[in-house]
Symmetry: C2
Subunit: 230 residues, 2 copies
Amino acid sequence: MNLAQGLDRFGLAVGGAIAPIRERLRPFARHQRTAQGAAAALGPERDHLVYMLDGHAKLVARTPGGQDRIVAFHCAGDLVTVPAAGLHAYALAAIRDCNLLAFGRTELLAAVRDDPAMLEAVFNQVIDGLERCRENAVNLGRKSASKRVASFLLTMAKRGGQGAGDAPVVELPMSRRDVSDYLGLTIETISRQISEMRKLGLIATPSRSRVQLLDCEALKARANHFAGAE
Amino acid sequence: MNLAQGLDRFGLAVGGAIAPIRERLRPFARHQRTAQGAAAALGPERDHLVYMLDGHAKLVARTPGGQDRIVAFHCAGDLVTVPAAGLHAYALAAIRDCNLLAFGRTELLAAVRDDPAMLEAVFNQVIDGLERCRENAVNLGRKSASKRVASFLLTMAKRGGQGAGDAPVVELPMSRRDVSDYLGLTIETISRQISEMRKLGLIATPSRSRVQLLDCEALKARANHFAGAE
DNA sequence: CGGATTCTTGAAAGATGTCAAATGGAGTGG
DNA sequence: CCACTCCATTTGACATCTTTCAAGAATCCG
């Protein structure tokens, strides 16, 4: 997804006109290019909102123990809320090269305050982020690894939009390590789950970073665990 | 915490004047009294924002499998974002009798749009909710039960504000079942953790719903697990 | 005071984590 | 274009932790 399309998503919710929006926001934002593997340069002392023009990124929380936990994955068009350093230090790290627009929380609000449609778009995106975080929390609270991984694949498929009808191919730009840090499992467990699903014929793995969902219904059943105890 | 104090929190962020705020919001809100054990009557078809005047509540996500997972606990002064029914059906259920102000997402935005301070207060509260959800997600992603429970107690202590200096007493208005649904553990595991911490002298349990934190530093160490692998 | 619910404790089974080694793919250089 | 090397991923065996199932104790409420 390119810059124009990225802004388009933002623009659609707002009401259409793309160029004017970008121009309005520019004075309040810092445009930033972040190379794969690097973290966006945001001061740790206050909240930020980052609009992703391009690329893929992960929001990482570093625990006091020094371990990294991934809180969210984001792609072009997302507005990412990056908390100031509190109990955990947060960083937005690029999985693939990224172009970002970084706002201070207060500044973004000031920028969109006078434009009701724009304000609503920002509000909606923040709430979207909250709802995704909640879905993630629900997923993490379920114990079994099989449900977490199946649910993860389905979520990525929905967001990726590679909806090739019956058997969509999902791009996983992040490493197994990232997936494990996101799902609260080890890379070995992830790998075992992937293998098991492949043996069961639920998925195929054409390449290291690609997964094809062969049987979405069965995956949903695996994720939701109908009927039985959860 | 009573109604005035509840609004006060909201009011403080806004800039002080309490009565006018309540009056301004009233036309857009539905005031609702929810008895202990009951769920707030919110239509499932759209997002809501609920301001808690009073009481304690839990935000529950019902999975397709029919199991309940608790996504957040809330008390007076909180602005709770309640998502429309999607993958999970959400409900705001009262742990103790509650007085609520329920807004549609769009209506609340319309109500505060013209008041910059008010708008910022709402924005802040939504982002607060997001950040708490993230902290929770980080906590859930950590494997060990001891860390989850220790972290939970510390979080509740910070929010409860019963800061009796060295050994704060934390009120846990929710049942063990609720805690287990929140932390993704079984009630037995919760109970065992509580017992172990008591044996270690980290906490005392004056009553079923009260926990006294005898050694906060040790609890923090237990929660964060300094140095060693996480 | 008594019943019922909630919480606690115990023992065994299952699942995931840990450690170690082998495999395979991706990219590099010849 | 092919071979080689490196590193992420996969697989295996075992230890550990949580769940499960079952029973007993404590607390709350009427």
